[in-house]
Symmetry: C3
């Protein structure tokens, strides 16, 4: 029988979990500088299918600022939820991580809007002892 | 004071988390063979209250294929989300795991439908070093 | 570069995860005594913004019983989902934990209602070897 479970060591899996908790709370808290520093210097972030990814920390920040400018007068709040973090170690030492995501959007007095449903495809690498996202490609379930 | 927290060792808890991430991504990805191999050979899967459980890997695959045949012309995608994995070690070495679940159903261009809410009751065992589901009984919150 | 990731040791992070799984399944299962015992004797639980927190285990139980009395004839079921558990160790040995939460409310035959979206701000301490909540302040996204 071939093994059906891919596993990484406990410490590493928990590090990835803490990395995501911190990274996504930074994003949702509007701390785009901190979010961008969870990527490598040349990190890629493709949030929208069919669009070119943002490349590099400065560009990632700029795209997030640009996106959120549209909501300047809109007291919207977003929470990116993650689930089923599936991590595979690659021979080159990087990690492939495939994670379910749901975006919870909240406006005062209204019920949360829960959409879209996505799959986040990350390559994570370690630099100076720290885990960083080298690339993040977000697939949207609504489009596949 | 009696302890209020049941705990299993760190390595084991994280192994269960990785097991579920892998198992459920296989199911949602339509890889029913891989999903069935996360059960023991004689594993039981009762997905629908009041119905007999599917018994054995071949039957589990057959029921999943049968279920999904109904959606052959329907570009539907499902994501099974899990939360609050509560694991208790039994004296016989098996694990009882009780987990919240929500099914996210997505169709192109539409918002995700998030239903039903369930509780997954698993018995997990180790065979040849690997964690496997010996039985899975799904309770539906809407019916209780 | 300053570190962007706050981390606690693996064992501790997994202990917090198991603590939450157990604590919230107790709450949702209506076992308010067990839930209250996951707080310190003088623990604070502020579930509603603008209201005084419940202080002490007996008060926490009393408020939960009072709240649920309203639903005596209502076969409602609630599931509190948590996500992105972000834990920081304080110099005094306590833990600050900031967690996303969604309340899933289910009634027979109906679709789950998923609201509100919250952020749970906990201070966790260890007493007699056991992790306990010293204070829990729940922020509601809809009001901020």
């Amino acid at each position: 029988m071939t093994t059906t479970t891919t596993k990484v060591p406990t410490d590493l899996y928990v590090e990835v979990q803490q990395f995501y908790a911190h990274q996504m709370q930074a994003l949702d808290g509007g701390d785009f500088e901190t979010y961008s520093r969870t990527f490598t210097e040349d990190g890629e972030f493709r949030h929208t299918p069919g669009r070119e990814p943002a490349r590099g920390r400065a560009t990632i920040v700029a795209e997030l600022v640009e996106f959120h400018r549209r909501f300047e007068d809109d007291p919207v709040r977003r929470r990116h939820w993650f689930n089923h973090v599936d991590v595979v170690a690659e021979p080159d030492g990087s990690l492939r991580s495939r994670v379910y995501a749901l975006v919870v959007t909240v406006r005062p007095g209204a019920k949360p809007d829960i959409a879209p449903s996505c799959v986040v495809n990350d390559v994570l690498v370690r630099q100076d002892g720290e885990l960083l996202t080298r690339s993040r490609y977000v697939e949207h379930d609504q489009q596949s």
